[in-house]
Structure formats: structure tokens, C-alpha cells
Symmetry: C2
Subunit: 340 residues, 2 copies
Amino acid sequence: MSKETYYIGEQSLTFPEDVYLISSASVVGKKEGEGPLGNAFDMICDDDKFGEDTWEMAESTLQKEALTLAMGKADLKADDVRYLFAGDLLGQNIATSFGLMDYEIPLFGLYGACSTAGESLSLASMCIGAGYAKTVAALTSSHFASAEKQFRFPLEYANQRPVSATWTVTGSGAFLLSGKKGKVRITGITTGKIVDMGIKDSMNMGAAMAPAAADLIAQNLEDFNRTPSDYDKIVTGDLGYVGQEILINLLKKKKIDISGMHEDCGILIYDKEKQGTGSGGSGCGCSAVTLSAHYLPQLEEGSLKRILFVPTGALLSTVSFNEGQSVPGIAHGVVLEYAG
Amino acid sequence: MSKETYYIGEQSLTFPEDVYLISSASVVGKKEGEGPLGNAFDMICDDDKFGEDTWEMAESTLQKEALTLAMGKADLKADDVRYLFAGDLLGQNIATSFGLMDYEIPLFGLYGACSTAGESLSLASMCIGAGYAKTVAALTSSHFASAEKQFRFPLEYANQRPVSATWTVTGSGAFLLSGKKGKVRITGITTGKIVDMGIKDSMNMGAAMAPAAADLIAQNLEDFNRTPSDYDKIVTGDLGYVGQEILINLLKKKKIDISGMHEDCGILIYDKEKQGTGSGGSGCGCSAVTLSAHYLPQLEEGSLKRILFVPTGALLSTVSFNEGQSVPGIAHGVVLEYAG
């Protein structure tokens, strides 16, 4: 394969060498364990503090447990993992820093808001595809309580939430990638640009992120010269019900109909009626644990042949929000295929 | 070259294809312009708000200007740059998000505290070395006022600072990397692990980061089978006077003497006596603008043949600090060589 064929179209890459997703793990909190995917997660903890004193350290523990489980499933040790590509939602990535330092693995810290699951898988794939390592890990986390404290109000305020608001998933998903043959292959990625439609409502992040997802999906189809039906599923990270509707309509205007194969991790992870979770789940952990627990098993057994996984992120902080800035979105796409 | 030779030793990579640093630019604030490197910077702005309403938007403008200048010097447009690898110190990387969105270039958002200049150059090098793009950009920024607001106190408090404290540099450095021959080549990288020595003083970040720098430098020498004198300079990012002394002593214990060729961007950028900057400069922008304005010209003309550039980061947030956590450090090393 000549070098020129690695990058295709405007924003996509295919990989010169095979990139396999050889192991993954999902660790979630109590509420996620009570949701529709409850039986699929590797570990559910009834104590959302995971035995720690603070919400932030609880989130660090989520990452630690997810990585340990993913390595254990692949019979690998920390020494076997050459790089970590990891991030979370908290200012200065503290869940990641304090969660992963004990492993003593070289770390690339990432921030892509809730799109970080896609960003970390993209960079990890690029690393394996280039032959820079035998095995690397991609992982992300979010925690309902640390995110509320960071972005909104302390839980003790018990503030009300509009129905457009999403519920941050308490969870961490870890993925091991390798050049060694596995059951699921990452065949390409499409890397997102920031898209700003001027949305200023931080309680409606689905609307802020949907345009970025629409752009990314349209670009992926163009770059790979595919139609939506070339994918068994097109899976967004955490648009929720509000964002899903906007996404499907935005793509219809571009004559792209994904209504038949679109799913959203934020919609799948909670039971809207019974769990009071508004528009759906969100956070770096939402798409990561849903990919690990729900989609990967179907890709491994071949009941899904090819999916486009598109975690979406809303790029805001309390500072930018309070200063009247908009909430730009970004999305990162990863193509996963059954490898037989 | 066989694939197995790309990764060497425990933490390092060499590149299968040549990676060149073809252009760079530095934009700084008034104080940096008055310092010892003042004449070397591409742009100095007397107004530290850079015409914006907020410190955060001022920092965004720094990144925007630095990237525009770096592209202009190379006679390239945004369309020619396939990926941005970028980050800053602010929670949720808002300086980067709001600074770079207008370019509409696929973005990998990064967080490595003040080590992000090294992290971004590392990932950009990996991308070019693998043939994933013709041209990519790596850029970082920091701003004294946005950092003080984020990490310490609003400027209006006029609080006192211990002499061990560093002064966050207002500046942004942008770098363009390409496979096309240029005067400076990136020949390898060494990627850092988190090192936590239990330091809890956020006003003494040099001490928190020095152990990570020492580990990284020792590992680089081992991985590449070099001695310190194989480098004309070993350049850390922002250890300052306090951190420099600790670094040199830590390495002496490992029988490595870098006292003859060690320099620190944080020490170079300000005049300690005249500018009242305590232990020295710090921030993502400190090492980036010093590399661009001070070291690259010497590498381009061949008066420096090979340097090891080691930006260092202190991984803390106000939340982790207030919860009593330590300040772990990380460092990322980049080997730059005169390419004739």
C-alpha cells in the first residue's frame, strides 16, 4: 500500500497495518447498572464513591478498574502496554492523572469533552497502525457527581433540570489496541473539526453537538465513498433524544438518511421513563462503556459487521459559559469491523 | 527499516520517515517582550488583552495569531494543514477551542499541563512519521492573567508570591511539521510517565516537575544509548531556578551530569533581577515560544546540531489541590537536529 493512500478525502485515514481492538472493559455506577444495559457491564459499583473520599478520586478509581479489567481479559500487564491515550471531563484532566499514575505507562493526556472516547481510539489506532507499539490503551471516564460539581451546581443544591438536559454517566471504558489479530478491527477514522452554531444553552448540549456529528458523518461517508447502509449502525455518543432528532434532520437536508441505522449511546444507557434522566446519558464514559459492553460483543460475534462510532463533545467550561461564549461541538469518528 | 526499530528502549520512538519542523512562530505579551529574548519573538503585543474583552479570549487570540504567522512563513493556508495538535492550561482547553475553531482544521485537543508543547510536537511527529499527513501543526499557549484566575487568585487581589513561584508566560508558539525537507529534523521522541514525589506546594511547581524531567532525561539517554554530551543542549520547559537545581542533583545521583549543557526556558525568558519573576517563567507558552524564537534559529543555522527539548508539566487543578492531593509531574522529550 503506498503512503498516499493512508489519508483519504478531507478528514479520514485508513491504516497501513491492521489495527485490532483486542480487549475492553466497562465499569459503571449504580444508576447505569439499573439501566437497560445493566447486565452487559463488567463491573457495577453500588457505592458511587467507589470507596474514595471525593467524587474526583472516585472517577480516578473508575479508570483504574477499567484498565485493570481490560488488561486482565487480554492476559496483559502494565509493562505490556506502551502508551495510554486518556482523558476525562474535569479541569486539567485530574481524574485521568490521579487514576493512571500508578501504572507507570507513558501517557498522552487528551481533551475532547465527551468526544474523547473517539479521540483516544483515533490516536491509539494511528499509533498501532504506524507500528509505533505492540499494544496501547485508550480510555476515558466521567462521573455524574464530579461533572455536576465541575460544570453546574453541587449536588446538595438539588437544582432542577430542563428536559433537554442530559445525565452524566458514571463510568469508564478502557480499550486495548494491538497489531495482533483480534475479532474486531479498526479500519479507519474521521477526525472532527470544531463546529459552532452559536448555541448558548449549556443545558441543551445535544443541540450544540448535533451539527458536529452531522458534519462528521457526512464527511466520513464522502471520504470513504459510502452510503449510510454500508454501516450496520451509525452510533453517536451522547446526543440524547433532543440531539438525535436534530442530527437526523440536519443530515436529511444533505440528502443523507440515517434514520434506519442511527443509535445513540446516551439514549440506550438509561430508561428515560423509569430513571428520570431527561434527554439521555452523556459524558466521556457514556459512549465508552456502551461501545465496550453493548456494541463490541456484537462485532466480535459478527452480528454486526461494520459500525461507525461517533462520540460527540461540547466544548465549554464554566468560565467560557459565564463569559457568554457559545458551546461549540466536535465529533470524532471510528470505523469498527467484524474481523472474523 | 523494519517496523520493530521504530520503538526503542522503554519509552522512545525513532521515525521511519523523516519528520521536519518547517516553520514556527512566537507571539508574546508585553512583559515577555521586555525580557532577554524580546528581540527574538515574532510578535509582541503591548495590550495583554490583545483587543479582546476577556483574558481567555486574549489567550485564544494568541493561538490564532501564532498559527497564522507560522502558516504565513511557510506560505501555507489552513487548507494545507491536515491536523492540529493543540492545548492550553485552562479547564476544558477553552483557549484552544475558541482560538482555533475558525480554521476548520481537524483537531486533536491535548492536555499535559505545561508539558503540552512536548506532547503536541510528539504526536504531530508520530503523525508525519507514519505518512498520515503532508503537513500538521502543533501549538500551545498560556496567559499570565487567565492562568492566575484559573489556578490561584484574581489579579485584583494582588496577592504575594513566594520566591519559588513561577510567572506564567503570556505567549503562544506554533509549529508546522512536514515530511518535506526543512532545516530542522525531529529524529525521535521520549514520552513521559506521571511521576509523583508527593510535593503538595502549588507555589513550587519546579520541585514538583523536576523528578519527572530527571526520569525523562535519564530514560532518553538510555533508550538512545547516548550520554549528555551527545546533545549540545538539554532544554527543560519551565523548571525555573528552583527546579533546575533539583533536576541537576537528581541526575547526579544517577551518575548523569547535565550541568554543562542544561538550560531552562523559564530561566531564559525573564530577567529575574529586573522583572521580579521569582523562580522563572512557566506555562505551555513558555517552552513553546522559547523553542520557536531562541533555539530553532540556532538549529536552522547549524550552531546547534542536536538538542533534547523537555517541556515539563505539573498535573494539578484547584479541585485536586483543595482536596489535598499532591502535584504529580510529567515531561515529554523531543530530539531536534540540524538537517543541513
